[in-house]
Symmetry: C2
Subunit: 485 residues, 2 copies
């Protein structure tokens, strides 16, 4: 560090000193918790007056870069989330592509399931946050009451007990639904599969958000469709203007959109964008597959609306799930395909899994009818919001300067952008070796974009282990890409 101290510039010396120190803090040479040199030492070293150093330190304090501790001196302050920006709007390749990341995704999904690791990888709620015993009780009473229904009934659409309960809840998302408009599925993943089968053919182009949920990319690769990634804002979701111009340049046959608490961004589309999206696609006859897996996990007290609220032409296929709120292992989700695609969806279901597992359907139906689900959801939302905030604060405070962090409006994942040339696949590997799972950014893109991003999940109760994991990730990130001096 070199501070000019010639006499003529003395009166600006405190500013230059403050700027130099701020640069060191921003670039990570001085890190959160580091002690600044003593005022006296600094004065001697740079040949400036004590009051100049004090002025510089107070200036840094007012910028919240340092904090004074009684009788101990000045310390670099922990970075606070409000000084960390969210990632910018994505800028994906503007050409349709085949997905080539399925092998990578499969490898990572397997690694992420390692039960011995700190699980920041999988976007799954911890069993401790789920009503496991109440569900088991519901299973018992449902099976006793239902006789042979669970064993023997095979209905492609699902059991009426559950369809009625789902239909009641669907009224909360801005559009009345009836039980016979619903097909119960093996989780949201099968709902998306049915929707893609029902609306597209091999070779067709499917528009998706960028970054996209990797499960959708896997499905598109498996079904030999092609993908077109659309710029997406980490806060306001899919860029509808960009989508409209994309479908004007390319024969897009369907789009998959997660309007609420997008995975991995946590973004929520404003109602105006939702309305515009539905209208613009309906005009062009392009079906919109809505993935509302995280819709129930809102942080602001109001359930966001489904795209179906604006659907006048039956071109929205809505997919939901109990996998993030109740029982991932039950594999129960649903699709509301609308009248136009109902028969096609039903046929695909019949040709693939025929029906959804009976016991899981009956247990969830009984649990929902019992009335405890809304109370459970209220508690779950509060826990997850708290987890997400703590994790974001922890990352903001400890990750390298220049890190960006998403501001989820719901759900429980964070999308983190590392500075510079960070390689998240490298970080993923090092974290795994250290006993921590994360999702590297490239699995959220068909062409390996988002190399500097990671997705971390806050679906587990906050603990010292989580704090250790965040601190370790921060250390690994710094070791791998030491900030330049």
């Amino acid at each position: 560090m070199s501070i000019s101290t010639d006499a003529g510039a003395e009166r600006f010396a405190y500013q230059r000193l403050a700027e130099a120190l701020a640069g060191q803090i921003r670039r990570g040479t001085l890190r959160p918790g580091d002690r600044l040199p003593s005022v006296r030492g600094m004065s001697r070293k740079h040949r400036v007056s004590i009051s100049t150093v004090m002025q510089a330190y107070r200036r840094l304090e007012s910028l919240r870069l340092v904090e004074a501790r009684q009788r101990s001196g000045f310390f670099v302050a922990a970075r606070r989330l409000d000084r960390v920006p969210p990632p910018a709007m994505s800028a994906p390749a503007s050409k349709p592509a085949t997905v080539g990341t399925c092998a990578l995704i499969a490898e990572i999904v397997r690694a992420v399931a390692d039960p011995s690791a700190v699980p920041l990888g999988a976007a799954l709620p911890d069993p401790a946050l789920l009503p496991v015993r109440a569900l088991n009780r519901s299973m018992g009473s449902a099976l006793r009451a239902a006789g042979a229904t669970a064993t023997s009934q095979l209905r492609a659409e699902g059991l009426d007990e559950l369809r009625h309960e789902i239909a009641k809840r669907e009224w909360n998302v801005g559009r009345a639904s009836y039980h016979d408009e619903i097909v119960v599925t093996c989780g949201a993943s099968e709902a998306l599969e049915l929707a893609l089968h029902a609306t597209t053919r091999p070779g067709d182009i499917v528009a998706v958000e960028s970054p996209a949920f990797f499960g959708v990319l896997q499905l598109i690769e498996l079904l030999d469709r092609r993908v077109l990634e659309i710029p997406t804002c980490p806060e306001r979701g899919l860029d509808v203007d960009a989508l409209v111009s994309a479908v004007e340049s390319h024969p897009v046959r369907a789009c998959v959109v997660t309007p609420n608490h997008q995975n991995p961004l946590g973004a929520r589309m404003p109602d105006a964008s939702k309305a515009r999206l539905v209208e613009a696609m309906a005009e062009r006859g392009i079906p919109v597959i809505e993935d509302d897996t995280f819709g129930e996990l809102y942080f602001d007290g109001v359930q966001p609306r489904s795209l179906r609220a604006w659907d006048r032409t039956g071109t929205v296929l809505r997919c939901g799930s109990f996998g993030k709120t109740l029982a991932p292992g039950f594999r129960v989700g649903w699709i509301v395909p609308g009248p136009r695609y109902m028969e096609a969806v039903r046929r695909v279901k019949l040709a693939t899994t025929i029906a959804t597992s009976g016991p899981a359907q009956l247990a969830i139906a009984r649990y929902l009818a019992g009335g405890g689900y809304d109370r459970h959801l209220r508690g779950l939302r509060a826990r997850l919001r708290d987890n997400v905030q703590r994790m974001a604060a922890g990352i903001a405070a400890s990750f390298p300067e220049g890190t960006r962090i998403s501001r989820p409006t719901g759900g429980f994942v964070l999308w983190v952008e590392l500075p510079g040339n960070a390689d998240s696949l490298e970080l993923y590997g090092r974290a795994r070796d250290a006993g921590i799972t994360i999702c590297p950014g490239p699995i959220f893109s068909s062409h390996g974009a988002f190399r500097s991003n990671i997705r971390v999940s806050a679906g587990h109760p906050w603990s010292e282990k989580t704090e250790w994991a965040i601190a370790t990730l921060a250390r690994l990130a710094r070791q791998a890409w030491p900030p330049g001096e």
Copy 2:
């Protein structure tokens, strides 16, 4: 009827009379239970002696076409199964085709599920034949013991508890299997889907039996593969010679074979054919997808072997299920894809349903571990064999002359070929109107073949209702196609 009675031919008159009556019986002019004209009346009408008529009637009796009843005269005998031939070897179109019957299949599968009808359509075991209470008990104790496993564990391969139990049973089919070679699926239908995805691409040709299980045809249509149907013998199953010459003329990428108790034929391939099939396909690098859904339901006391018993190159993908023996509604099956396709199968599972429903897996694992499954299967096989024999006898006795009936070696469906220009879609419609479901033959073909065939299921306890249904089907068949005079 005109019987020549001129004096020179008198000594052959009894033979001519017998032949004429036999023809009337065979063509259905005289029907089972009909009374033959009295000996005296016949003698008067045809101006032959009493003893000539008696000779003719005794001749018919020795042919088992009529039976004498004390003091009542002679009656047309009920036709016995041993006089009814099985259908002939199929002769399908020898060119690859796209499947165009999915809409028809979907319509019929829906109609067949009508709970108010006599269910001869769906190939499902009646709940009364299944251990419903034991399974419910297993569910209760499994969920209590497993804590949050069923709620939260997501493993694409399935839960180890169940994979271990399946692996033990797999040893019975002629080839040792280990739990980590098994992927648990949402029924055999998903197992077939995974296998087709793992081995073929859109446009590829898949060889199947003719007739084929319609579920396989649905999958081939859904996945945009093409189908090539191979002649299949109702008793000895797939014609391996025909398959070998077909794969030499067409670039077949996979074949789907049901070596044991084929659906709808009930055929079983001899071991020598199985060995030859596996070897011939391995030489050409063509994977064989084995559908062994009905394998456990053998009638002769010995479990038939899996194609895997002869698989030295890892080209057999074996699919099994608990859907026909334990709990169709649980949707639990499995696939043993072999080392070559294991990773691909796992990836497809991960991209589509992610995992199989946890509670159903745990309940079946617990039930199998409890040891009652083999006893249940012994009882089930005996009941189903009895049902199949009664149904076959009933059809033989009452359906129009010229009907052919399969001789299943296991399972519980019969493949019936009606004489002449019978239209089974027409019969299906009339039966449905009468409150009886059956499967019309054309859904077992990609191009609407088997118009004169129906599949009837004997999976329900034998009852007066079943007898009424068979008699009604016989009447409808006769009404629709009155035998020529």
